[in-house]
Symmetry: C2
């Protein structure tokens, strides 16, 4: 029998991603003991009831000292407070990682609270659904998906390797990246699409009452997909936009220019310009299918 990768893992926040990881860790026997530090009474009760973790705490002083690995899975806006709470209780040699959707802000807010002798390896799994809470976790959520690690230059290579090993063990492919680069890539692949989906569903909900009712009734392909995306956790996404401001504003700007060009083509009946643009986007879809991320 192989030894588990970690003795005790403490999940700070036991929402969709962390409860998925906990289930996967359990399934693959990657740790001996799983705990959570979680402020929501309901989430703690649910996580214990479903056996997602062995023990649940509200006090960092009780939860953190025993942890060999701490996985921070709160909304990004709460991460500085998490750092303040857990920092003093981290044991020497422990590793801290996270699953936040932005990385520059996490490094900025969490790194200052990590004491010497504790390793900090920030990360972000490119996986998730529109559901939230510990009951929504899926053990195979990370299978075949990417996990991006953004360790600061001075990070202990062994610590990075151990975190990478954990994610590989739950089925992910691991990629190392600069935090700033991560935030740029995700601004376009994830943050902008969510903002657009929130916008379009909001636009529809502001229509005159009878029209809004029909939008729901005749919700077609396209709009339906957008409403699914726009059902994602509001707090999590508020924090993502506030904490990846520069990159998001930059891609909104590009997007708006491109939309304005198409709008103009529609107004002036420029069929060829529309057709060219629509043909080009098909190639991207094929590339994604080829990359097995469809």
């Amino acid at each position: 029998m192989t030894a588990p990768l970690f003795d005790t893992i403490c999940f700070v926040g036991i929402g969709h991603i962390n409860s998925s990881l906990a289930r996967a860790v359990r399934q693959h026997k990657l740790a001996r003991r799983l705990t959570t530090l979680e402020i929501s009474d309901k989430a703690r009760a649910t996580a214990l009831e479903l056996g997602v973790v062995d023990e649940a705490f509200t006090d960092a002083a009780q939860a953190i000292p025993a942890a060999d690995l701490v996985v921070v899975g709160t909304p990004v806006g709460a991460i500085e407070a998490v750092g303040q709470a857990i920092g003093p209780h981290l044991k020497p040699g422990a590793i801290v990682t996270d699953v936040g959707s932005v990385k520059l802000a996490v490094v900025r807010d969490l790194a200052p609270h990590i004491p010497d002798g504790v390793h900090f390896v920030p990360g972000h799994p490119i996986a998730g659904t529109e559901f939230s809470g510990p009951e929504s976790g899926l053990a195979d959520l990370f299978k075949g998906r990417w996990h991006i690690l953004t360790p600061p230059p001075a990070t202990d290579a062994q610590a990075t390797d151990r975190v990478a090993a954990l994610w590989r063990a739950v089925g992910a492919q691991v990629e190392i990246m600069e935090p700033a680069h991560h935030d740029k890539v995700l601004a376009i692949t994830s943050h902008l699409p969510h903002l657009i989906a929130y916008t379009i569903v909001g636009t529809a909900s502001d229509l005159e009452e009878h029209l809004a009712q029909e939008v729901i009734k005749f919700s077609a392909s396209g709009f339906r997909d957008f409403t699914r995306i726009a059902a994602s956790d509001p707090i999590m996404w508020r924090d993502i936009f506030l904490n990846n401001r520069e990159s998001v504003l930059e891609v909104i700007q590009r997007f708006t220019e491109d939309l304005t060009a198409l709008q103009r083509a529609i107004r002036w009946g420029e069929g060829e310009a529309l057709e060219d643009r629509f043909t080009k986007t098909r190639a991207i879809r094929r590339a994604i299918i080829d990359a097995k991320q469809a």
Copy 2:
């Protein structure tokens, strides 16, 4: 044994929607004989090979005189030419319907070519995938979906009933609507989402080469859905935008205002405004799930 609803149905254009309808008609034995009038050699060959239709024609003079029901399923931009081609060959008492995604323009372009004694019942099934061609048809595509009919005021009620009966028989729910109203509702539920998806995927494909590669590699939920939508048929969508210009431009304007408001909230760090907006859109998703259109 009940008599089929129609003797001969001729599908003008045998793409995704018409080949789905042909399969469903066949499965439910709703017509004795199915034919297609189709200019593409490849599509004719495929449709015959797969047994989607019994006979395939390139000449309206051969295809149309025998048809009791003609279902026009070409891109909307081709509909006027279709009208000119089929008009002289329609037999008295025949019914012409269509499956075009816009309705005002179809009425404008097709109605003038329908001779007296032939019934014209425009329609639009709120169904479809991003695939195209006769090989992509699905017999159960319309099951549980809406089919909107927009008959002009003077339309023979019996003709409308027969077309409605056909769609109900393949599993759809039928709703009668004014063409202008249809075009407004669909502009927001379908046309704008497609335009946005085309735009965002285009924006991504214009990024510097190395970044575009990573966008494909780390294509997350959100962007992946958009690329699927943006893989839809370019000609079909070019024609939709050119033929629902006013309604589409109106909803782009609303959308852009709403996006600008969110952009401003991000720039100025207005977390509460973002959270409010993102919470509101969850309700729309719930309503769509309740309406069983999710």
